[in-house]
């Protein structure tokens, strides 16, 4: 299941939901706000989403991952609103019987979310200027 959250991501709860007794492995990715991007010093970030479409598209990605890879459970939550340096912006977790599928599915979900889910990043730099971030 995919979700967007205005509150701090609760990774402990998400990890618990991803656990399954049929699984021998769990792969997780946490995306954090870093203090620099494209050569500029970043002070903070704001993420904006088109919530209804973001949740639909995110859930489509999770369903596609479930079909493509031999995994048992997958969750992804993306934070929106104002985030500070070090805050968690995105969490992806996948459980599977074997590690290979879990690694691949986690990477697939993250890459697809970054390119397809309507969420946009606005950076405020330490010089006080701000701007929308283009896809790298």
């Amino acid at each position: 299941m995919f979700d967007i959250s205005e509150d701090k991501i609760n990774e402990t709860e998400l990890r618990k939901k991803t656990r399954d007794s049929a699984c021998g492995g769990f792969v997780c990715f946490e995306g954090w706000v870093r203090d620099h991007n494209q050569g500029k010093a970043v002070q903070k970030l704001a993420y904006e989403a088109y919530p209804k479409l973001a949740i639909k598209e995110g859930n489509k990605i999770i369903s596609q991952a479930m079909e493509k890879f031999a995994i048992k459970k997958a969750f992804c939550t993306h934070r929106v609103g104002l985030l500070e340096i070090g805050d968690m912006a995105v969490w992806v977790g996948v459980s599977a019987a074997h590690r290979d599928a879990a690694f691949k599915a986690c990477r697939y979900i993250l890459d697809e979310v970054k390119s397809r889910v309507p969420i946009w990043k606005n950076e405020t730099w330490t010089d006080g200027e701000s701007g929308w971030v283009e896809q790298e």
Partner: protein, 84 residues
């Protein structure tokens, strides 16, 4: 196709809010497709965005540029995603 008047809501996200200097517009329009609406909207912005990178949605579903617009539709124009 007959050009009938339609009341629509247009949403802009990300940097497109700055291009059109608003996040939401309510309009009565006679255009029939997303493409025609986009061309009409270009008259109201100073700088033409890179159209190939923009996605459109009607009523919370991604749609193609030749999709028809109906009365009371909510249409969104979305720049490339930059989440993660």
């Amino acid at each position: 196709m007959k050009n009938t008047s339609k009341n629509i809501t247009i949403l802009f996200f990300g940097k497109l809010k700055e291009t059109w200097k608003t996040s939401e517009l309510k309009q009565t329009t006679q255009v029939n497709t997303i493409e025609e609406l986009y061309i009409e909207l270009l008259k109201h912005c100073d700088e033409e965005p890179h159209k190939a990178s923009i996605k459109a949605a009607i009523n919370d579903e991604f749609v193609s540029w030749d999709s028809s617009i109906n009365d009371n539709d909510t249409i969104a124009f979305l720049p490339p995603a930059s989440g993660g």
